[in-house]
């Protein structure tokens, strides 16, 4: 993992002092609420429905045991003993007091963490593949790139007052687990076909929200050394030309769309050509310095298979099922990555109590080189676990209610906090997720249905990624009541697609039935081995629509 040096340390301490000063200036009237709001947002402080909310950055979803324990402590001391992991792999506390925030920022700085740019019209927390450094399909670890961008984008003198928020994601694998095509900038590390050098494929203009769009490639092979200069070129074009007259049209996706990909690319390339790369880019020694922190841990040489594991699996069907569903093959023989589900049936997706955080921190320390990852699907990962330790870990997770075997299945639902907490929400998300999970709780049924991603947002801003859910659910307000729109066919992977509207408006209590109906069509029509999304792609929306029409006629 990356560790702060003296410069990083000083930088973060300065931000704590700066925010304390900003709060003081707000209280003495030097700053108006309008002026203070973006400053507090850039330090992760929102005003929500019931209280302030503090969003803590977890850069590219990587945490150490020490950091997670500190989060647990903050949750207990300043909040209500729990936090919420988000689709940007951040952690949100729902009940902090503004007066306590400077102190909390100090505690975060103690463990090399911060809340910088977790909100506001600036470059947000950089995300990456949660299986970085582990995945067998990885070409190169995306974390050094993500860390370089984290530093470069922090308190950028020129790009801190952008037209709108700006999100960057990086992947280094063939399979996209970081939803890069739904980001303002998505970077994919790939090899140049001729030189075999690793390069970046640069996509711009993806994003969800009111106008969902899939990112478009502006550079097929950007030499890695040119990264920061190229980002500067993109950001400058956006900062100068992005729309500022309408916040709903201010994201870079609209600029790309209105300018046209070709012309947008031309402007970026023209700006890039004007830049003096060597005076902007990080020098190779700096890149190596960062990369060295992400060297693989000292694995033990182990056989590919573990007889202890196989014996335990044979003797315990629940454990066997959990291993099948919640573990991922590791580059290193004899190891696996475990995904810990924060989606126990009936709980709020992505919530974890301080006790659960401590347990995961302990398990990571004992079994996974003190490292934890947060996924954009709101789960946690122990990235480097010996196969022979899986059974012991599973039992301890079970005692804390964290052994749900549902990763990637119908109850592994992404949901934003929705109107239960969020001031922007138009409807609740959590109770919908809970109701669906209860309906499909039975393991055999989940297994039969197979991979199916349901994603729920409580408003058009789409924090719950509903557009790219196989089934997307969007909570709206219609005539004074909560109403839910269902979309079908979205995809968050390298085959990124925006879902199409299947049903425009359902009452909350009708949603689980609607999901049942969709699933029934799939189970009836699927071919051997065909997953839900493959089935939807093959059949289109028609048979699913028909199922709803029949219902209307019967009613």
């Amino acid at each position: 993992m990356y560790r702060y040096d003296e410069f990083d340390e000083r930088f973060v301490r300065e931000r704590v002092e700066q925010f304390s000063d900003q709060v003081a200036r707000r209280l003495d009237g030097s700053l108006t609420e309008d002026e203070f709001k973006p400053l507090r947002l850039k330090n992760g402080v929102y005003l929500q429905l019931h209280a302030y909310m503090l969003r803590i950055a977890i850069p590219y979803g990587t945490l150490s045991s020490r950091q997670l324990r500190q989060l647990a402590l903050i949750g207990e001391r300043y909040d209500r003993g729990y936090g919420h992991f988000t689709t940007r792999t951040n952690l949100q506390f729902n009940w902090p007091k503004l007066r306590d925030v400077p102190e909390i920022l100090g505690l975060l700085a103690d463990v090399e963490m911060h809340c910088i740019q977790t909100s506001g019209n600036c470059i947000r927390n950089v995300t990456a593949d949660h299986f970085a450094g582990i995945a067998r399909d990885e070409i190169e670890d995306p974390r050094p790139t993500a860390e370089l961008i984290r530093q470069w984008s922090s308190q950028h003198p020129e790009f801190s007052y952008l037209p709108r928020k700006f999100k960057i994601a990086v992947t280094g694998a063939e399979q996209d687990r970081a939803v890069i095509k739904a980001h303002d900038i998505g970077l994919r590390i790939r090899r140049h076909p001729d030189t075999h050098e690793t390069c970046y494929e640069v996509s711009v203009g993806g994003g969800l929200g009111r106008t969902p769009m899939i990112g478009k490639v502006v550079r097929d092979y950007l030499p890695k050394a040119d990264l920061l200069a190229y980002l500067e070129a993109i950001m400058r074009v956006y900062n100068l030309e992005g729309r500022r007259d309408n916040k709903y049209k201010a994201r870079v996706k609209i600029l790309v769309h209105e300018t046209g990909l070709e012309e947008f690319t031309r402007r970026v390339e023209a700006e890039f050509a004007e830049l003096d790369g060597p005076s902007i880019n990080a020098d190779p020694a700096e890149v190596s310095r960062i990369a060295a922190y992400f060297a693989p841990p000292t694995y033990r040489a182990l056989p590919e298979r573990s007889t202890a594991l196989e014996t335990a699996r044979a003797g315990n069907p629940d454990f066997d099922r959990w291993v099948e569903v919640n573990t991922t093959a590791h580059k290193q023989p004899g190891y696996a990555a475990i995904t810990i589900s924060l989606k126990p049936v009936g709980e709020a997706p992505g919530d974890a109590t301080s006790e659960q955080m401590r347990l995961v921190a302990d398990l990571a320390e004992e079994f996974s080189f003190s490292e934890i990852r947060v996924t954009h699907a709101q789960n946690l990962v122990l990235p480097h676990v010996k196969l022979s330790d899986l059974f012991a870990i599973w039992r301890r997770l079970g005692e804390a209610g964290l052994s749900s075997a549902n990763i990637g299945l119908i109850t592994d639902i992404i949901a934003c906090p929705g109107l239960d907490y969020c001031a922007l929400a138009t409807a609740r998300s959590i109770p919908i997720a809970q109701a669906i999970a209860r309906r499909f709780a039975e393991d055999t049924r989940q297994k039969e249905i197979g991979e199916l991603n349901i994603k729920i947002s409580g408003c058009i801003n789409a924090c719950g990624h509903h557009h790219v859910g196989h089934i997307g659910i969007l909570g709206l307000e219609k005539r004074g009541i909560e109403s839910y729109q269902i979309t079908l066919g979205g995809d968050a992977t390298q085959d990124a697609a925006i879902g199409e509207i299947l049903v425009p408006g359902l009452a909350a209590e009708e949603v689980p039935d609607a999901i049942e109906r969709i699933v029934a069509v799939y189970l009836e029509q699927r071919q051997a081995g065909e997953s839900f999304i493959e089935n939807v792609r093959r059949l289109g929306l028609a048979p699913f629509k028909a199922a709803f029409l029949e219902l209307d006629r019967a009613a």
Binding site: D5, F11, S30, S154, P157, S160, S279, R289
Partner: protein
């Protein structure tokens, strides 16, 4: 109120609504009036111009050698175009004074200086709430930055490099 990195400064420029600049020694004119004002210029007279953040660099580039001051208007502190325009003007070789003109907040002072501005001209409504002392204090909260090429020295990447070289030498 006019501020530069050393604190409050006195504004020796005189705003002119149009191109009728007579023999005002330091005349600050609107962008629209610039060509005529330059044509009217008398010997020894210096011209400055007020431009919007949306101005394309190509429109002003050829005139840069004629100008002693460019004031970029910030319609709101949240409108960051001026920072990028300042960068482009400096890159295009403008060596005169660069002024950020509008309701900026103290937390932007360091950013403005790093992007190439020399001074901030604040409207009275902002200046009243944010005394000069706050602007100086805000600068003290911003030390080294990660970005190379913004302002003189002081960036973290170059400091790390210097440290590496010193260690290698020692």
């Amino acid at each position: 109120m006019l501020l530069d990195r050393n604190g409050p400064a006195s504004d020796s420029w005189t705003h002119s609504d149009g191109a009728a600049i007579g023999n005002i020694p330091l005349a600050l004119v609107p962008w629209e009036a610039l060509p005529e004002a330059l044509a009217n210029r008398v010997p020894g007279q210096q011209i400055g111009v007020v431009v919007p953040g949306s101005l394309a660099i190509a429109e002003i580039e050829a005139l840069l050698p004629e100008l002693a001051l460019i004031a970029i208007g910030f319609p709101a502190y949240s409108d960051g175009r001026g920072f990028s325009l300042a960068r482009r003007l400096r890159r295009a070789g403008f060596t005169g004074r660069l002024r950020a003109s509008g309701p900026l907040i103290v937390d932007q002072f360091a950013y403005a200086l790093f992007c190439g501005f020399d001074e901030i001209a604040l409207p009275a409504s902002s200046a009243g709430r944010q005394p000069a002392e706050q602007w100086q204090r805000a600068l003290s909260h911003v030390g080294a930055r990660y970005q190379r090429g913004y302002g003189d020295g002081g960036n973290i990447l170059d400091q790390r490099r210097a440290k590496r070289l010193a260690q290698a030498a020692g």
